[in-house]
């Protein structure tokens, strides 16, 4: 797994690629949670290049959502493939996250 980060105007974009599973979730957790240790900019997590996510990856996304809530900070997800969307639906996660189709739209919405 690789994790790209980019600042687009006022919005931070975090984009993991590859597999987000129990073997890679810790690296993803470290990369994401360092941005959520304290209040920070509105954040988009772009999953367009993510081929796979398991419950280990969802756990990290939930941690970020909990922090964002406490920090009163905007957080959106985008770029979900149909398989990843199915995982979100099975988990009830579509109700927990602001999910936008693509990055440009997500950044425009949060910026």
């Amino acid at each position: 797994m690789q994790i790209a980060e980019e600042q687009l105007g006022a919005v931070l974009v975090i984009a993991p690629s590859g597999r987000l599973d129990s073997g890679t979730a810790k690296a993803f957790e470290d990369a994401v949670m360092k941005h959520f240790a304290a209040a920070g900019p509105a954040t988009v997590i772009d999953l367009a290049d993510l081929g796979y996510v398991s419950s280990a990856g969802l756990r990290v996304l939930l941690m970020a959502a909990k922090r964002a809530k406490v920090q009163n900070r905007k957080l959106a997800l985008c770029g979900l493939s149909s398989s990843i969307r199915e995982v979100f639906e099975m988990s009830g996660f579509t109700k927990l996250f602001d999910i936008v189709p693509a990055r440009a739209e997500a950044v425009a919405k949060l910026g």
């Binding site: 796979y52 419950s55 199915e86 099975m90 988990s91 009830g92």
Partner: protein, 141 residues
């Protein structure tokens, strides 16, 4: 490639990604839909990750045997390990209605397996745990 995949995994988390590549190839060779392959990998990952993370009382190397078989439009998956006795299907289903603040992550993996497969079964054998998953291919993924 044959219509049966047999893999012996070590009890190490990176083995899940190695298995996924083999299942991807097995699925592609047998013309299985990508969504189905994803779901089979997800079920295998969740069960094997649980076993590797919580199943062993020592720090030794153990083998987890995986078989994926295609038989008459039924995809059958068998997982066998020598871990401590544990029936994953005894677990309480997660509460999916909770808010972000209250939501816990536990139990999601087994919930995926129950949701995605048509039949699941568990048996304690003389050598360990045996989980069998069945998915009919004519049910649309």
């Amino acid at each position: 490639m044959a219509d049966k995949l047999v893999v012996r995994l070590k009890n190490q988390l990176p083995e899940v990604a190695r298995l996924a590549e083999l299942v991807d190839r097995f699925g592609a060779c047998n013309g299985l839909a990508e969504g189905l392959i994803y779901n089979v990998n997800l079920c295998l990952d969740e069960l094997i990750t649980n076993t590797i993370s919580y199943g062993y009382d020592d720090h030794r190397e153990h083998i987890i045997a995986v078989q994926v078989m295609l038989e008459n439009c039924v995809l059958r998956t068998v997982l066998e390990d020598d871990a401590r006795a544990f029936n994953p299907f005894d677990a309480e289903p997660p509460n999916l209605a909770r808010s972000v603040e209250e939501r816990a992550i536990g139990g999601l993996g087994v919930h995926f397996v129950r949701t995605l497969m048509d039949e699941v079964s568990y048996r304690r054998t003389s050598s360990g745990n045996r989980v069998e998953l069945t998915k009919r291919l004519d049910t649309g993924g």
